[in-house]
Symmetry: C2
Subunit: 419 residues, 2 copies
C-alpha cells in the first residue's frame, strides 16, 4: 500500500511545487486517496503563501573557456535583468571565505561559493554545507555582488543541480541566485586555481510571487477513546518542481499513511491517529505553521514526521517527559528486534510538526532513516520513483507501525520534555 | 601525464561536437599539446563531414497527466515542425515489438520504444539494446510515425538522457528522434500499463548540416628503424556535446599518448609509434575512414584503440597472423602480472582504426576496459572529468605501455589474421 501511494502520487501528479496548480491537484488527489483508504474527517485546510515561479535558467562560462553549465535557480531568487547578465566571477572556497571578503569588493560581480558536501548516514552534512545555499546569496549581496552561484548542496556527481530555498532576511538585498551541478562546480574550481579571470553569462528568470494558494490535508483514524489527545503523524505533500517528489516527500506520506492503517490491524487503537499531509513545506514550512495555528485549541499527545527519503530506519530518537520513561522503553523494545538502535539525540520532529510541538510541548518520536543516498537526489530532477527500494520502504512502514502500536495504545498522559 | 591531458582537454576545450568550432579548437589544442610533449610530424589532416547542429529540445507529457520529460535529440534527427508537435504516443516494449507493428499503424503518432539495458563488464548490452536508437526511428518512420522517442541506451537512473547517432538508411524517411532519461521512460511505461491514452508535446529543433569541417590529428614518435611499418595507436578527439568528453574519449587520447611516451623510457623503440586523435568518430566514424584513405599507400604493422572510458583493463584480445603466435604470447605474458587475462575474442580495434585494419589486414591488440560504469555516463551530460579514477587511468597507461614495449620492439613482420 505504501508503494501504491507514492507510485500513484508521482505518476498521476508528479512535481507539485508549493502554491502551484499541481500542488492544488495533489490536494484533490490526497483527499480522494485518503477517503478511499477509509480515513475519516478528510479535510483540506487552505492557506496562502509567498511562493515562487520558476522561469528560464541558463549559465554559460564565457571566459577563459566557453562551457555550458547546468544551473537551477534557488527558491526566493529574483530574476536577472532582461536578456541576462555577464559578469566576472569571484571564487570563494566556502561560505566562511565569502563572509570575510571586504565590503564592496564584489560590486558588479558574481560570487561563486564552493562547498563540497560528503554523504553521512545521519545526513549531518546538510546543516553546515547547506548554509552556502541558505545564507550565501544574502551575504554576497551585502558585499555588492549582482548574483550568487553556489555548488549544489548535494553529494552526487551528476549534472543535475540541486535547488532549495535561499533566504534574504529583512534589510538584505535580494539578488538572483542559482546552484550549479557538482561537475560544473569542479570545472569552476579548476579554472579558479589557474588564476585566469573567469566570466559568466546568466539567465535566471525565476521570481517570487505573493498570495499563492496552498493548504494542508488532514485525515483521522479515530481511536476507541476520542477524549484522549491524538497521535499526529506527518509528511509534506508539496515537492520541488524539478523531480516528481518521490523521496521528498511522497515516500514520507506513503510511510505514515500505510503505518497508520496497519496499526488498525491488531484492533482499533485507543487513541486517534491523525495524518497531516502538509502543504508548502519546501518554501518556508508554511503548512506546519498553519496546522499549529488552526489546531491551537486541541490538545495533541505525540508527533512524528517522515521526511528523509525511503531508505531504512536505523535509529530512533525520543523526546518524552520523565514520567513517560516507561513508554520510551516500550518504543525501544518494539524496534530493537528490527536492528534499530535508540539514540541519545532529543527528537525534534521536523518542519511540519515543529510548530505544534513547540506550542504544546508534545512528545516526539523520530525514526531516523539512512541518509547516505539522500543528498544524491534531494531537490534534483533525479527525485523519482525508481530511487525507492520497495523493501526499504516496507521496513519503514514496519518500524512506524511498531511505534504506533505502542504509543496509540498508551492510556496514560503523554508529553514531551518540559525544557 | 595522462591525467593532465584529459583534465586540460575537458577544462580548456570541453564539449567538442564533430564539425563544430569547438572540435576545431580541440585540433589546435591537440597540435600544441602533442608538439609540447615531443611528438614529431604533428599534423592536422582535414576532411568535411555531414554533421549535426543541436537546437532546443523539450518534451511534455500532456495526457493523461502533465509531466516535463528530459529529452535529447539523436544525431541525424530532423527538426519537429515550427512550434513543435503534439501527438498520441504508441508504446512498444522493444524494437522487436515495433518491427512487427502493422504498416501504416503509426500514421500521425509518436512511437515510444522501451529498451532497458543492464550493465555488463564487457559492455555487451550496447550492441543489442543500442539498436533501438540506431534503427528504431527509421523503423517507426516506415510505419507512419511522425516522431520516435526511445528510452536512453544507458544503464543509469539519472534524469540525463543519452544522445547518440541514429541512422536513416537510403530510401527511409528521416523523422525527429529523441531519447528520454530512464526515469522518464519508467513513467511512460507505468502509464502505458494502465491503458490510458497518452499524448506528448515535442520540440526537437536539432538538424543535420552538410559540409562541416573536421579533421584528424596525427603525430609520431619515430622508431630506430624507420623502414619498419609503424604501430598505430588511436582515440577520438571529438565528443558528444552534452558532456565534456572525459570518458568518451578524452581518456582514450590521454591513455594512448601517455603510453606512447612512456614506451620511450626504456630507450627508443625499434618501430615508430603513431598516435591518431581521430575527428568525427561520433557522427559516423569519419576520422577513421579519412585516415585509411590518406594513408592507404603506407604499410602499418599493428593498430590499437582506446575508446571505452577510463576504468581498468581486465582482458586482452588479439588478432595476429599464425606466424605471430610467439608475439601474442609475449603480449599476454607482459600483461599477466597485472591480472589481465587473455580472451578468446578476435580483436577488432574500434571505429577509428577499423578501416585501416580492414584495408591492410593489420594485426590488432584490444585492451578491454571494465565497462560496468561506462553506460551510466556514455553520451550524457555526466561525461565529465570527475568520473575518471586517476588510479584506474594509470593502470590503463601501464597496460598500454607493457604492450607497446613488446610490439614496438618486434623486429619480424607483424600481420593480422588473413581471413
Amino acid at each position: 500500500m505504501a508503494w501504491d501511494i507514492v507510485a500513484d502520487l508521482t505518476t498521476e501528479i508528479g512535481a507539485r511545487l508549493a502554491g502551484s496548480p499541481r500542488e492544488a491537484a495533489a490536494r484533490d488527489w490526497a483527499v480522494a486517496r485518503l477517503t478511499l483508504l477509509g480515513f475519516k474527517n478528510v479535510q483540506v485546510e487552505p492557506f496562502t503563501i509567498s511562493g515562487f515561479v520558476r522561469g528560464a535558467e541558463t549559465a554559460k562560462l564565457t571566459g577563459p573557456y566557453p562551457h555550458n553549465l547546468h544551473i537551477t535557480a534557488l527558491g526566493n531568487s529574483v530574476p536577472t535583468p532582461k536578456g541576462g547578465l555577464t559578469a566576472e566571477v569571484v571564487y570563494f572556497v566556502s561560505l566562511d571565505a565569502l563572509k570575510v571578503a571586504p565590503a564592496g569588493s564584489l560590486t558588479g560581480k558574481v560570487a561563486f561559493i564552493d562547498n563540497q558536501m560528503l554523504p553521512n548516514q545521519d545526513g549531518s552534512g546538510y546543516g553546515p554545507y547547506g548554509n552556502a545555499r541558505r545564507q550565501g546569496p544574502a551575504v554576497a549581496a551585502s558585499k555588492g555582488a549582482v548574483t550568487a552561484v553556489i555548488r549544489s548542496a548535494g553529494t552526487d556527481h551528476n549534472r543535475d543541480p540541486h535547488t532549495g530555498g535561499t533566504n534574504f532576511p529583512a534589510g538584505s538585498k535580494a539578488i538572483p541566485a542559482g546552484a550549479v551541478s557538482a561537475p560544473d562546480a569542479d570545472l569552476i574550481a579548476r579554472i579558479a586555481a589557474t588564476g585566469k579571470p573567469m566570466t559568466i553569462n546568466l539567465v535566471l528568470e525565476s521570481h517570487p510571487q505573493a498570495n499563492m494558494p496552498s493548504g494542508n490535508v488532514i485525515a483521522d483514524l479515530p481511536g476507541r477513546d476520542p477524549s484522549l489527545p491524538p497521535i499526529l503523524v506527518a509528511c509534506h505533500l508539496d515537492s520541488w518542481d524539478l523531480g516528481t517528489g518521490a523521496i521528498d516527500d511522497g515516500a514520507g506520506c506513503a510511510i505514515v499513511t500505510a503505518a497508520a492503517l496497519r496499526a488498525q490491524q491488531g484492533g482499533q487503537p485507543l487513541r486517534t491517529i491523525r495524518v497531516l499531509w502538509a502543504g508548502s513545506e519546501e518554501l518556508g514550512g508554511f503548512g506546519g505553521i498553519a496546522y499549529a495555528k488552526a489546531h491551537a485549541g486541541e490538545p495533541h499527545a505525540l508527533a512524528m514526521e517522515s521526511d528523509f527519503g525511503a531508505d531504512r530506519v536505523w535509529r530512533v530518537d525520543l523526546n518524552l517527559a520523565a514520567a513517560n520513561k516507561p513508554l520510551g522503553a516500550k518504543v525501544s523494545a518494539a524496534l530493537a528486534p528490527m536492528g534499530i538502535v535508540t539514540g541519545t539525540t532529543k527528537a525534534g520532529g521536523g518542519t511540519d510538526v515543529e510548530p505544534i510541538i513547540a506550542a504544546q510541548k508534545l512528545a516526539v518520536v523520530d525514526l531516523q532513516q539512512d541518509g547516505t543516498r539522500y543528498f544524491d537526489l534531494h531537490h534534483t530532477p533525479d527525485d523519482t520513483l525508481d530511487k525507492i527500494d520497495p523493501a526499504q520502504l516496507e521496513q519503514n512502514v514496519a518500524a512506524w507501525t511498531a511505534v504506533l502500536n505502542v504509543v496509540a495504545n498508551e492510556p496514560g498522559a503523554i508529553a514531551g520534555q518540559s525544557d
